[in-house]
Amino acid sequence: MNVGLEHYLTVSAMLFCLGLLGVILRRNVLVIYMSLELMLNAANLALVAFSRFNENLTGQMMVFFIITVAAAEVAVGLALIVALYRKRQSAHVEDLTSLKL
């Protein structure tokens, strides 16, 4: 069977769902962050697939920028996590909550 746009998009969707699952279920802050990166990657894949199958280069340009910004974002995010770790001495998401139920 010819691999078409739908296949790539399905892969992207699955990856996205996996990332989302990680965000919801895992308790380690860093793993959550990594799952977030996974979601970003899924989006990248979808964009490139669209770019390829719709003869539009804009998709790849978007991915270019997304990767850049993702890098910057990771840097900042990790700095935040470091700072948070210093405060709470724990990387467990439940320890970071200070709102009383």
Binding site: I24, R27, L30, V31, R52, N54, L57, M61, V63, V76
Partner: protein
């Protein structure tokens, strides 16, 4: 079956497998394991990019994502000296509802994708080599300004990182 298709299925399978292992590793709960598997996921995705004729992006993916971002991740993990994640009380309700929601989302997306008209060209030309990309970025299109702004953004991110990770001055 044509070779690209086989390769697609291979890379797709790998991506998904490694992605799953990032999220739910049955063997170890060490975050380092997750990071390693994320690297592998990125590499498999680079392969998919190549299949999609986006060579430059594949390279950038490996260089930047796997090379820089993931390294940064590992740096931080090592810095914080995170051990194995201790098992805490498992919230079954949360797990069930979360999984349910995500599965719902997946179902919806799949249904839409396979549902109908995706508005794609009939016989798309294959484009996406580096030269075209460069031209698009720097001359044609409207991406010059965003390009410059992104560089400023990186500067801002650097400043922010330094500020955020400073130790409290007494």
């Amino acid at each position: 079956m044509v070779l690209p298709d086989i390769l697609f299925y291979l890379f797709a399978f790998l991506t998904l497998l490694f992605g799953a292992l990032v999220v739910a590793n049955p063997f170890s709960r060490n975050p380092v394991t997750s990071a390693m598997f994320l690297v592998l996921t990125i590499c498999a995705m680079a392969g998919l990019f190549v299949l999609l004729n986006a060579f430059f992006l594949a390279a950038v993916q490996i260089l930047v994502y796997a090379g820089a971002v993931m390294v940064l991740f590992l740096f931080v993990i090592m810095l914080l000296d995170l051990k194995e994640e201790q098992r805490r009380k498992i919230n079954l309700f949360g797990i069930v509802t979360g999984t349910g929601a995500v599965m719902g989302l997946g179902f919806l997306l799949t249904k839409t994708i396979w549902g109908g008209d995706l508005n794609q060209s009939a016989n798309p030309r294959v484009i996406g080599d580096t030269k075209a990309l460069g031209l698009e970025l720097f001359t044609k299109g409207q991406f010059l300004l965003p390009f410059e702004i992104v560089s400023v953004l990186l500067l801002v991110a650097m400043v922010g990182v330094i500020l955020l990770s400073k130790k409290e001055l007494k």
